[in-house]
Symmetry: C2
Subunit: 349 residues, 2 copies
DNA sequence: CGCCCTCATGTTAACGGTCCCATAGATTTG
DNA sequence: CAAATCTATGGGACCGTTAACATGAGGGCG
């Protein structure tokens, strides 16, 4: 009178065992109805399905993960969620992964490398089947953790020279260079830029790459780089641009054209110029990066460098699905999704 | 020569067993070093710690969850991630939950109720210890699932009349009413609004509540509601506002003041007005909702209704931590975080 | 000096699924 | 028509961890 009849336990969540008993089949059959119904006779399937419905059974993926060694998690590490382009990446990624029944595990680092490491450790404990990282700069410890994780690693939104996994991205340096070339070709000679500072633990590597590319190209053209201003810290936003352009104009009042490492900053620049009565593009030309929606709507519409972030997310998702379908493949792909200039009205022609 | 000595298995991930053998202690001791180090003698702790480091051991939370019946997951369901205010909620929530070592599981529905149900089922299979929902309108099946989940449910960013769990939010109707009252008090009599349509499965309940509150207040004041325009579908954005104000002005060219259910739309309205040479606020006053950063930076700065979304997220996080600490408590709290008008320059005084 | 505590650690049995193999009946095949 | 193959289902071990209880060594105390 012990063992068997302790159904007295008041209302825990139903398990697969409860379902199997109610349906009069084995646990394994229930499991099959859930994960691959075609293996089960329609009549049996029906019995099981109604037992599931009656009990309100919801399978426990933690138990399933443990047994099958597949968690269905994909880890995504972002600098921040409060940036439309990163959100777009997450969005595109989800779209694709949803279909394949993967669940995204999102962590964000606030551009802080120590935090990245902590977050990574947390994520790894969940045994993701693939790991997606934004940007290519990681601490040593982080790299070691990643390497020993033994799952596909995807580095996106960058084009690192020494990647540790698959790469799907674009060159942030090239973004900077393209912006510079564009302005130089328009005939400007007094050219500046605004970005974030690079001190401390909290920094925006990808933005800094864009700044460097920009400076390189100015130098290459024999132009001065003294109007390239690093001000405030990531994440960049409208206020950043408004403040930074002030600093820039103090330093170089004769500046004719400016590159902002983010459209958000660029919009801040535009608004500050309106306030100061500086006409864009007549007195100052502005080019941004990111092609945020606001740039299209603002007056004057913002000339910017576009990258298809949503598509980048989708592409990453497809790669992951592909990779996981055909087992481990350690050949590391490298995809450059490229970039394009969107010419609008904020640069004088 | 069987059983014991099959360490030949080439390099699976190390388990707690490997660590315990290397450190010469039991598995339980390793477990304690990880989850509550104070229970273990410093010397032992040290041995274990270095075994962990040597092997690069990372615990498997799926196994841990199964055994301890605690997953450390908190589920968050949002309409979309591409909205700064929802992102801010996620942000505030994470800040708090990080400390307490919970991992956020984010799902988004694209304002689609069928999708909400699917997502909910996925989330539930992960056994979250609490579930956070935005908005208070759910399908019947979803409500049933939620109720039987037997974990705290928090409904946020709304103030439902018949809540199914804890509520931390504000009244979206009150937002609409407040906006209307503000414009009425300013002496306007020809007042309109722009929001999204309400047809089909995909809709923005919370936005619609704001519209209703607005209409109610107009009616209460004896004013016509024919300039309240529902156009396009959620998620709202800049383009929405630009398009919707066109529709509104066709219908009611004499409109003096307009409420946009989202700042994003409001900014679109402002920009479209600039393009059409309509002076804001001289010819048309505009008030928005959400206090998005862009509204502060734009010219003229946007008058809007502010809700502290980041704080709302934090508060939600704290409530969850509190709730989980002191075991199940089924008393359902109700917190109104309130709202405030931010007067800037887009409404004529 | 025996007794009882406390503290550090070990032992055992779950947790809720799925993998792998076995089995019995139905169906094909030479 | 016996053997081989296929189909639908079942049985048991196992995934990696922790809860709960057991154990044994040391310390304080009357």
């Amino acid at each position: 009178m012990a063992k068997t009849e302790e159904r007295v336990k008041r209302s825990r969540r139903p398990t697969i065992r409860d379902v199997s008993q109610l349906a009069g089949v084995s646990r394994m059959t229930v499991s099959r109805v859930i994960s691959d119904p075609d293996l089960v006779l329609p009549a049996t399937r029906q019995k099981v399905a109604s037992a599931i419905a009656d009990l309100g059974y919801v399978p426990d993926r933690a138990a399933g993960s443990l047994a099958s060694r597949k968690t269905g998690f994909i880890a995504l590490m972002l600098p921040t969620l409060t940036n439309a382009n990163f959100a777009a990446v997450a969005h595109g990624l989800t779209e694709v992964l949803r279909e394949a029944n993967y669940q995204l595990l999102i962590a964000y680092t606030e551009y802080d490398m120590a935090e990245e490491e902590r977050q990574l450790r947390n994520l790894l404990a969940r045994r993701p089947e693939a790991i997606v990282l934004t940007g290519a700069t990681h601490s040593n410890a982080a790299s070691k953790l990643l390497l020993s994780a033994d799952v596909p690693i995807l580095e996106i939104a960058d084009l690192p020279s020494r990647p540790i996994g698959h790469v799907i991205g674009f060159s942030n340096q090239e973004v900077g260079r393209t912006a510079a070339r564009y302005l130089i070709d328009k005939g400007f000679t007094r050219i500046g830029a605004v970005g974030a500072t690079v001190e401390g633990e909290v920094l925006d590597h990808r933005g800094e790459e864009r700044m460097r590319g920009f400076e390189d190209e100015l130098r290459y053209a024999g132009l001065p780089t003294d109007a390239v201003v690093r001000h405030g810290k990531a994440p960049l936003s409208y206020d950043h641009g408004a403040a930074a352009i002030g600093v820039l104009l103090d330093k170089a009042p004769d500046c004719e054209a400016v590159f902002a490492v983010s459209d958000l900053s660029a919009v801040g620049v535009l608004m500050e110029c309106q306030r100061r009565g500086i006409s864009v593009p007549d007195q100052l030309s502005v080019i941004g990066f990111g092609d945020f929606e606001i740039g299209r709507i603002i007056n004057p519409p913002l000339t910017t460098i576009h990258v298809d972030f949503n598509g980048l997310g989708q592409r990453t998702g497809k790669t992951i699905v592909e990779l996981l379908k055909r087992g481990v493949s350690s050949e590391t792909g490298r995809v450059d999704v490229g970039l394009s200039i969107i010419e609008r009205k904020s640069v004088k022609t």
